[in-house]
C-alpha cells in the first residue's frame, strides 16, 4: 500500500464540524487520512495541540473554522488566524514545511468543500512525504 499520511484536523463545532458532518450525510467520499478532533471554536485551538499532533506522528495538521465574520462566538476564528501565522513561522523554523499546517474556513453548508479539502490536503501531504518529527524525537529516548 502506498504511503498513507496521518492528518489531524481540528474543527470548530458550529461550522466546520457541521460541514464535515454534512459531507457525511451527503455521502461525499474523501480520503480516510483526516482524523477529526472537535472543539467548540477554532479560537480554542492552541499551538500546543498542533505541536503535540506533530509530536505524536501527524504528517499534517488541518485547522478549520467558520468563515471570517461568521464565527459563532464572534471572533474566535480571528484569534485562530493570528496564531496560525505565528505558528506557521515557528514550525518552519523548526524545519517543518509550512504546508504541513493549514487553516481553511469551512462553513456548515460546505460539506462538499470539506470533502474536497480533505482529499486535496491529503494529496499535498502525500507529496511532502512523511513528517519525521516523531521519529526524530524518539531517537533520543
Amino acid at each position: 500500500m502506498s504511503y498513507q499520511p496521518k492528518i489531524v484536523s481540528f474543527l470548530c463545532n458550529w461550522c466546520s464540524y457541521t460541514g464535515a458532518d454534512l459531507a457525511g450525510t451527503s455521502r461525499m467520499k474523501y480520503a480516510p487520512n483526516v482524523r477529526i478532533i472537535r472543539v467548540m471554536c477554532s479560537g480554542r485551538i492552541e499551538p500546543t495541540f498542533v505541536l503535540k499532533a506533530f509530536r505524536e506522528g501527524a504528517d499534517g495538521v488541518l485547522i478549520c473554522g467558520c468563515h471570517p465574520g461568521d464565527c459563532h462566538y464572534h471572533e474566535g476564528n480571528y484569534k485562530c488566524l493570528r496564531r496560525y501565522y505565528l505558528l506557521q513561522k515557528y514550525i518552519q523554523q523548526m524545519g517543518l514545511k509550512k504546508e504541513r499546517l493549514r487553516l481553511e474556513w469551512i462553513s456548515a453548508s460546505e460539506g462538499k468543500q470539506f470533502a474536497e479539502l480533505a482529499d486535496e490536503y491529503t494529496e499535498s501531504i502525500k507529496e511532502l512525504g512523511p513528517c519525521k518529527v516523531k521519529e526524530v524525537m524518539e531517537v533520543l529516548t
Binding site: 454534512l22 450525510t25 451527503s26 455521502r27 453548508s109 460539506g111 462538499k112
Partner: protein, 605 residues
C-alpha cells in the same frame, strides 16, 4: 357617522345564482339596511367597466367610500381606486369585503358573509369585531397526529411545562418524515434529525403519548373539550415489552409494511421501524392468524416476558378533557394508479417517490441499494436487496399536482424532493444516468436554489417538459417528453421511472373536520381563519391546525406552523382564558361591535 362617508357597495364576480354559493340577493338586501350604504352596484350592471363613467357616478352620488365584495373583490380594487382618484376622493377609501378571507364559502355561510361585509362598510377589521368572549380553559392539550407537526407542537407545549396528549393513529410517531431518507436542501438524514425529537417526545414527562389510537368523538366547549379516544388493541403490553423481536422472528404471517410504503413485507407482529417511538411491538389484527381463526399464537409462546403478549386484548375507549386541540393529521400521497398512462401498478419499475424514498433509505428494504422490484415466491412485488440495479432513472414531476384533472394545486415539495432523489441516485449509482422532467422548478426556500444549482452540476439531466406517458419496452421503460427549452422531442429509454407524486388530503379529513367543526377548503385541506394573517386558528375556539393538513408544506414551514399553533395554546394557558368560537357569534352582535369600533375610530381621528 354621517353622510360624509356615504358608501357604495359593489358586488362582484358572481355570475349566476348557484345553489351552492352565498345568497347574494340576501346579502344585498341586508346591505340596504345599513344606513351608510348609499348605492349598491352589481357587476352585471357594468358590462364594460369604464373608470370615467364610474368616477362620474361617484361624484354624482357623493360617494365617499367604496366597498367591493364577493369572492375575490381584490381583483376589482385597482379599478375602483383609479375611479376614486379620478373622482377626487382618497384612494385609501376603497375597502374589500372578501367572503373567503374569513371562511365564508357556501350558502350556509351567508350570515358570515353579511357580517364580513358589514365590518368592511363600517371600516373595521372583521377579526376585531368578531372577537368572541373569553372563558376559562382547561390547561391540558390534545394533539392529533404524531408526525413532525404534532411532535413539534407537543414538545413546544410540554416544554412550557404543560400537559399534552399526543394521539397517533399508527404504532409509532414520526409520520411521513420518518420514512424519508434525506431532507432537502441540506441533505440531513431525516431520521437523524427526527429521532432525537421522537425520543424526546417518548421520554417527556409532560407528554402522554397515545399511539395506535384514534380520536373518535369530541364534545364540549372551547376550553373544555371532552375527547373520546379509541385505544386500538395493540395486543402487546407497552410497559413490559422489551423490544427483543423474538416474537416477530417467529411469527409465520407476513403482511405489507406500511412504513416501507408497501414495498416490502413485515410480520404480523412487528415494530414499524427500528427507531420507532415507543419502541415496542404490536400485532396487526388484520393479518394475524390467531385473530382470524384462533389458531397460532406463536408469538405469545416465544415471548420471554410473561403476560406481555395478550392476543385477546380488546379495543378500549379512553376519555380525556382538554382545553385546546391541535390538529396535525398530515396528508397522504397521490395515488399514481389514477393516471394510467404512466403505467404505475402495471410496470413494476415505475415507482412513486415515497416508495423510492424507502428504497434509497439505508434503513429501507434494501439497505439503501437502488434495485428493481422483484417478485417473491408468493408473487408479491417487493424491493429486495438482491435485485439488479438500474443504470438509468427518470424522475417525473407534478404527478397529480398542477393538473386540472387531478389536483389543481401545487404540492410545493415535489420539485425539491425530486432534486434530492436525483442527488441520491447520483450518489449511490454514480454511473447511472438521471433524467428529471419538470414544468417549473420551484426552488423557493432558503438554500433551495443553491441546491438546484448544485444538482445541475452533478450531471443530472434536468429537462423542462413533463413526461406525457410511459410505455414498457422490453425490460426498459420508454418515456415520451418534449424538451421545451431544447426544442426537441425526447423518447428516453430508462430502467426505472420515479413519479413525483403530490400530496393530497387524507380520506378522513372531512370526517375529522365535521367532528371538530373545521371547514374544508375547495382542495380538501383544513381551512384556517385567515390565510394571510392567521394561518393556524380555525373558526372553532381552541382548535388550531398545523402542518400539511392545512395545505402542502415543506418541513421548515410545518415546524414553524406547528410552533405557531403551540403559541396559541400557550397563550391561552398562560392567561387561563380561551376565546370561544367565532362561528357561534351572531350577525347582530358582530354588527353591533363593528359599529362601536367605528365610532371609537372616528373619535380617535
Amino acid at each position: 357617522m354621517g353622510e360624509n362617508l356615504l358608501t357604495a357597495v359593489y358586488f362582484c364576480g358572481i355570475s349566476n345564482e348557484h345553489a351552492e354559493i352565498i345568497d347574494i340577493a340576501e346579502v344585498a338586501a341586508y346591505t340596504k339596511t345599513i344606513s351608510l350604504v348609499g348605492e349598491i352596484w352589481h357587476q352585471k350592471d357594468f358590462p364594460v367597466i369604464d373608470p370615467d363613467e364610474v368616477a362620474a357616478k361617484i361624484r354624482g352620488d357623493g360617494i365617499k367610500r367604496i366597498v367591493i365584495t364577493g369572492y375575490q373583490p381584490g381583483m376589482f380594487k385597482s379599478f375602483f381606486t383609479k375611479a376614486m382618484v379620478q373622482a377626487g376622493n382618497d384612494p385609501g377609501d376603497v375597502f374589500l369585503a372578501c367572503f373567503g378571507e374569513f371562511g365564508a364559502y357556501k350558502r350556509a355561510d351567508t350570515e358570515r358573509a353579511k357580517a364580513i361585509l358589514a365590518c368592511a362598510i363600517y371600516g373595521v377589521s372583521f377579526e376585531e369585531a368578531a372577537s368572541p368572549e373569553e372563558v376559562d380553559t382547561s390547561l391540558d392539550t390534545l394533539v392529533i397526529g404524531g408526525g413532525i407537526a404534532g411532535i413539534q407542537a407537543s414538545l413546544e407545549i410540554a416544554n412550557g411545562n404543560q400537559k399534552v396528549y399526543l394521539v397517533e393513529r399508527t404504532g409509532t410517531i414520526g409520520g411521513h418524515m420518518a420514512m424519508f431518507d434525506k431532507t432537502f436542501p441540506t441533505l440531513d438524514c431525516a431520521a437523524c434529525i427526527l429521532t432525537p425529537k421522537m425520543v424526546e417526545v417518548g421520554q417527556h414527562p409532560n407528554i402522554d403519548l397515545m399511539t395506535y389510537c384514534e380520536v373518535k368523538d369530541v364534545t364540549g366547549e372551547p376550553g373544555n373539550y371532552k375527547v373520546k379516544i379509541l385505544q386500538k388493541a395493540r395486543r402487546v403490553d407497552l410497559a413490559t415489552c422489551i423490544g427483543c423481536g423474538t416474537c416477530s422472528e417467529k411469527c409465520p404471517r407476513k403482511a405489507v409494511s406500511e412504513f416501507d410504503a408497501d414495498t416490502t413485507l413485515r410480520k404480523a407482529i412487528y415494530i414499524p421501524f427500528p427507531q420507532a417511538v415507543p419502541n415496542k411491538y404490536l400485532i396487526d389484527a388484520d393479518n394475524c392468524t390467531y385473530v382470524e381463526n384462533g389458531k397460532c399464537g406463536v408469538c405469545a409462546k416465544v415471548c420471554p416476558v410473561p403476560d406481555c403478549i395478550n392476543l385477546d386484548e380488546q379495543d378500549e375507549l379512553v376519555e380525556v378533557t382538554v382545553g385546546n386541540i391541535i390538529v396535525a393529521t398530515g396528508f397522504k400521497v397521490f395515488d399514481a394508479k389514477r393516471i394510467e398512462r404512466y403505467g404505475y401498478g402495471k410496470y413494476p419499475n415505475v415507482v412513486t417517490s415515497l416508495e423510492f424514498e424507502r428504497l434509497v433509505n439505508a434503513a429501507g428494504p434494501t439497505s439503501g441499494d437502488i434495485t428493481f422490484r422483484t417478485q417473491d415466491k408468493k408473487k408479491n412485488w417487493i424491493f429486495a436487496p438482491e435485485g439488479n440495479k438500474p443504470k438509468s432513472i427518470a424522475l417525473i414531476h407534478c404527478i397529480g399536482s398542477r393538473d386540472e384533472n387531478y389536483h389543481k394545486y401545487c404540492s410545493k415539495v415535489c420539485c425539491m424532493y425530486s432534486l434530492k432523489l436525483a442527488h441520491l441516485v447520483k450518489e449511490k449509482l454514480p454511473d447511472a444516468e438521471v433524467y428529471e422532467y419538470y414544468i417549473d422548478m420551484r426552488s423557493f426556500g432558503k438554500g433551495y436554489q443553491e441546491f438546484y444549482e448544485r444538482i445541475k452540476n452533478e450531471g443530472v439531466n434536468i429537462i423542462r417538459g413533463r413526461t406525457a406517458k410511459i410505455d414498457q419496452d422490453g425490460d426498459k421503460l420508454l418515456l415520451r417528453s418534449e424538451d421545451i427549452v431544447g426544442d426537441r422531442l425526447i423518447e428516453q429509454s430508462v430502467d426505472m421511472a420515479i413519479l413525483a407524486v403530490g400530496l393530497e388530503p387524507r380520506e378522513d379529513t372531512t370526517e375529522i373536520g365535521e367532528m371538530l367543526g373545521i371547514s374544508i377548503d375547495s382542495d380538501g385541506w383544513f381551512n384556517e381563519v385567515n390565510y394571510v394573517s392567521d394561518p393556524v386558528d380555525t373558526f372553532t375556539g381552541g382548535i388550531t391546525v398545523a402542518g400539511v393538513c392545512q395545505g402542502p408544506k415543506d418541513i421548515p414551514d410545518t415546524v414553524a406552523q406547528a410552533s405557531a399553533a403551540a403559541s396559541r395554546v400557550l397563550q391561552s394557558i398562560l392567561k387561563g382564558k380561551i376565546r370561544k368560537s367565532i362561528k357561534e357569534l351572531s350577525l347582530e352582535s358582530i354588527e353591533k361591535r363593528a359599529k362601536e369600533l367605528s365610532i371609537i375610530m372616528e373619535g380617535q381621528l
